[in-house]
Amino acid sequence: MNGLINRAIQCFLRDGWGAATWLDAARAAGVPARGFEPMLTYPPEVTERLLQVAADRLTRDRDCLLEDLGTYLVSHPSRAAVRRLLRFGGTDFPDFLQSLEDLPARARLALPDLVLPPLRVMALGEQRFVLQIGAGFPGAGAVARGLLRAMADDYGALALLEAGPEGAGGAAEVMIRLLDPAHAEGRSFTLGARE
């Protein structure tokens, strides 16, 4: 697993519940307390163990925790770069949804080591979409739900997200119903200036 993903979980625990919670979870999961290095690769069990321990300690459902992780990635000030890079995907939320199929290729362009599961977006009819996530990352569906919810907010769109059927190895579907693409102002995004 790319260290960037592990490090995101580390920062999520630290920013959300404090350094003590992160250290406690790290110890219990047998992860070095100083944390992960973003450009190194770690075995997938490490991520799995850390998530399980964190969910146990925080008495949260694992999927709930992962959904919050997805939201955190977009909305927390310390993750501003992730949000900006995602916003490059499109000028409005429907445009952004369509761009998700390019996301794994975009991620690879930035970081050849960062392998994301294949993504497919299909329109199911008027303002209804389904995001199909390929296998590879158990829990990717939950992360995607949290992330899409936060991105809808970011664009000022009103959207309803639901978990679809889950397949083997983390394959999942997210159902998206777009109620109003321009419900609110949304956060500003300029191409050049780093906000």
């Binding site: 770069a81 890079l85 490059f88 300029t190």
Partner: protein, 325 residues
């Protein structure tokens, strides 16, 4: 046969939001919406390309023909804002010309300065992808920089915590302290050894020669050590030997004498020869039972000092009278 196309101005603008259509006299027929936003004067009645733009290095645009020369590759800069520069391609259009401009590599800066948005670029233009990559690269670099800072910190700590002298591979002071702590016996000899004439090597042949000598000394010490012995370099040319199990002075002194003899052999360094020697002070733990290790070190020191005063190149066993000197 030349085929002619009829293209609406609006369609042209969607394809090329930074185009410039000129008549035969260099008058502006049409300017793309992005370009017009950057240079509002393009929209003025009777605007002329030569008034608004200069060629590279400020050369004036004389006629439309100047733009079409060199296969139409042009560099234009705004006359009013010379830091606003464009790269473009000009093709003949009727008696005039059509030029498509772009920012070239300056696009990252231009986007920030002029608050351009995705709508300012044609969807076929890879500018937005370029900006995405630029930003991704910056984010990755920041992560790498932070990681390097962490690793650098680790390196400093690791060096502080190291037990080994980086140059010679012998134990360092810290490593020696640990070896003393781990001693399983109260019978041992402590030897403090200083090189003779080492300063001359360093001053005469340079530090590289000095380092070479130190490495050779370390090799000799390591070869003369038995299992369980510890050899440490605790200063520039200062060494300590910790020899567990040594109960008698004579065999210990014989071992040190043999080391000093080997140290006195010439050490070749390139075409030069380094000649050093060694002086040593020795103390047996049983000479000062119950004494703290710091006291034994002081005794070994005193014996070393006595050996130097007695003319160097020798090892002396500590005796109480040495302390007062």
């Amino acid at each position: 046969m030349t085929r002619r196309f009829d293209l609406e101005r609006a369609a042209l603008d969607r394809l090329m939001p930074m185009h410039l259509a000129l008549d035969a006299g260099g008058g502006v027929l049409s300017a793309g919406s992005t370009l017009a936003r950057l240079i509002p004067e393009l929209g003025d009645e009777g605007a002329r390309v030569g008034d608004l733009f200069a060629l590279r290095h400020g050369a004036a645009v004389g006629a439309v023909g100047d733009l079409l020369a060199g296969e139409g590759r042009v560099h234009l800069q705004s006359r009013a804002r010379p830091d606003m520069a464009f790269r473009g391609l000009a093709v003949p259009m009727g008696a005039g010309a059509l030029i498509n401009l772009s920012f070239g590599i300056g696009v990252v800066e231009a986007v920030g300065r002029f608050a351009l948005t995705e709508a300012d670029f044609a969807p076929t233009d890879l500018t937005v992808e370029l900006l995405y990559l630029y930003e991704a690269k910056t984010a990755v670099l920041e992560e790498l920089r932070a990681m390097n800072a962490r690793l650098q910190g680790d390196k400093v700590v690791a060096e502080e915590q190291a037990l080994t002298d980086a140059l010679t591979g012998l134990r360092n002071r810290r490593g020696l302290d640990l070896a003393i702590e781990a001693l399983g016996t109260s019978d041992f000899a402590l030897v403090h050894l200083d090189l003779d004439r080492f300063k001359q090597v360093n001053d005469g042949l340079g530090h590289a020669a000095g380092d070479h000598v130190l490495v050779q000394v370390a090799r000799i010490l390591a070869e003369e050590c038995r299992a369980g012995d510890t050899a440490a370099r605790i200063g520039g040319d200062e060494f300590v030997l910790l020899l567990p199990g040594m109960r008698q002075a004579d065999p210990a002194l014989r071992r040190i004498a043999r080391i000093i003899e080997r140290l006195s052999e010439p050490i070749p360094y390139g075409t030069d020869t380094c000649r050093i020697g060694g002086s040593a002070g020795l103390v047996l733990a049983r000479q000062a039972p119950e004494a703290a290790i710091s006291v034994l070190f002081a005794h070994a020191d005193a014996a070393l000092y006595a050996a130097k005063r007695a003319g160097r190149g020798r090892a002396l066993l500590w005796e109480p009278w040495m302390e007062s000197g």
